[in-house]
Amino acid sequence: MLKLIQNEWMKLWSKKATWIMASLLIIILLANAGITKWIESTSPAPEMAWQEMEEMNLMSAQDQLQNPDIGSAQQDYYEGQAAIAEYRLANDAEPFKVESLQQQMLDGHMMLSLVTLFTVIVGAGIVASEFSQGTIKMLLTRPVKRWKILTSKYITTMLFALLFAILTFISIALFSWIFFGVGDGAFLVWNGSEVVEGSYWAEALKLSALSLASTWMIGTFAFMLGTVFRSSSLAIGVSIFLMFVGVQLVFLLQRFEIVKYYLFTHTDLTQFYTGFMPIPDITMAMSLIVLTVYFLVFMVISYWTFSKRDVTA
């Protein structure tokens, strides 16, 4: 199996497109940091002191807590936000500025949608391209069972996603360190009873890891489409379309029970830690179960079609 993955990895990085994607990722992150820096340096001094901001945060958190529709994850979140804001005001503990290494790292997980995009391209093409190049017949006439070949391709796609996620993480750290440096302030967390100082690195890593669930699901979906339809363009198109529209559909389906079993209600696992939950009464455990079920369905369809198919191309 290791040799098969080695093969897939070699093929992947022998393609120019892969190197272009890696360069593009770094260029976009560099540009993002650069633009943030530029906006900061050209805009006038902030209109509000951080104390005013924190007061607003406190008020909005308290408002949210009055809302009877929020779920328990949101309840916890806003209680924490309110407590942290009160603590900051009482103890004169300044929050991170947006233009600081710390805040950039904490927001870094949002950049992982870029990784999803590239993973979709790789996952959609990794099987489909063998068919379009005609190399599939060279690949399947070896003493290796088909499911092993498919597994090596799937693992390679996921390794690619992981590598790009790490690359994103490191790039953001490096570029924001260069452009903004380490800012003042402390990272505070609410542990349920009191506000304590936490590690922003650990928090950034946690949010990034949770964001990868969405990369994993959409990547797997693209992989399945590429395997079933043998056309990478179709698979890329449909996956990227769903990536954008799928989340919007959550709002349309909001009033129906079925939304709780809908994939995109659950793809964003960071929602349990960022307070923004379109469907408040879901839990992390429920999301993990739904995602696992979708994953198994995608896998069964991929393996079934790939192992049974007669290759006539």
């Binding site: 040799k3 093929k11 006439t141 070896r142 003493p143 069972k145 007669d310």
Partner: protein
């Protein structure tokens, strides 16, 4: 040539949709023997070959390679098989060498030394580090052969291997296959629509039509010695020949007689004595093409070509 069976095709059938493409096909292939696989377009050659290498699944029946079933022990049966299916498509964005490394990793026990040895064998040492995208068709065919030989196969399957090769390339390829069959005792199964090619290359020919095996014959099987005689006046010549005791078949502008060479001088003397003018006396060999068309019915091919 040993007569050990390496491949056994048993009651092989394939149905796609409602159409039965392959009907109950039985065939044995032996070590050291080159078997040609002939048939008009659409007869089921490619389907049969794809089933033999695991690209398609048989609807019924089985294929045993080295005694192992392709259905129940795919990895075991295909272990010692080398395959070239039509044009060998390689990864164009990688060098020839990387392509070989790629395929070598999929077999057990193919060492780096073996890869280099195969590169030598097909004479590609100078360009193996270049990208496959820059290769000519002939080079790609050679690389295709190299990848098929990596695992020291006991059985080589080639589907239309000489497609796109120039005459020198075809000749080289043929010599090479003969050498492999003889020296390594490899069984080779070649499908082709080039009849002359098959005739020159193969020891044995299997002919398929409409999914059924209609004949298996050895190429150098002793043929009835025949002579073609063209003479005028034709009627008189026929009469003389029949008087001698030959069976006379009209053929083109003259006649064909079934006889051994030693009777020819006598026949010529008698014909001249009878005042017949001889224009041609020559041994007549039916070519494979004639036999093939005779067996499959020329119309079938003509039809296939007009599609």
């Amino acid at each position: 040539m040993s007569n050990e069976k390496i491949v056994e095709i048993r009651k092989l059938s394939k149905t796609i949709g409602k159409k039965q493409i392959i009907k109950n096909l039985n065939l044995d292939l032996h070590k050291g023997e080159i078997t040609g696989f002939l048939g008009p377009n659409g007869a089921g050659k490619t389907t049969t070959i794809r089933m033999m290498v695991g690209l398609m699944k048989p609807t019924q029946g089985d294929i045993l390679i080295g005694g192992k079933s392709i259905r129940t022990d795919f990895e075991g049966s295909i272990e010692k098989v080398g395959v070239i299916v039509e044009n060998p498509e390689m990864y164009k964005f990688m060098s020839g060498y990387k392509n070989l490394v790629h395929f070598a990793r999929m077999h057990k026990g193919v060492t780096k030394a073996r890869i280099d040895e195969v590169i030598q064998q097909v004479g590609m040492q100078n360009r193996i580090k270049e990208k496959v995208g820059s290769y000519s068709l002939g080079m790609r065919q050679r690389l295709g052969l190299a990848q098929a030989l990596l695992n020291n196969p006991e059985f080589l399957i080639l589907d239309e291997p000489t497609n796109g090769l120039d005459p020198a390339g075809i000749r080289e390829f043929r010599m090479y296959l003969r050498k492999v069959a003889r020296e390594n005792d490899v069984a080779i199964f070649v499908s082709s629509h080039l009849l002359s090619e098959i005739e020159l290359l193969c020891d044995r020919i299997a002919i398929i039509q409409n999914g059924e095996l209609i004949d298996i014959k050895n190429v150098n099987e002793h043929q009835q010695s025949r002579y073609y005689i063209e003479a005028k006046p034709a009627e008189q010549a026929k009469q003389v020949l029949e008087e001698i005791g030959f069976t006379v078949h009209p053929h083109e502008n003259g006649y064909l007689i079934d006889t051994e060479p030693e009777h020819i001088p006598g026949a010529i003397k008698l014909l001249t004595a009878a005042g017949v003018d001889l224009y041609a006396v020559q041994p007549h060999r039916t070519t494979l093409e004639d036999q093939f068309l005779e067996m499959t019915g020329g119309g079938e091919i003509a039809q296939a070509h007009t599609k």
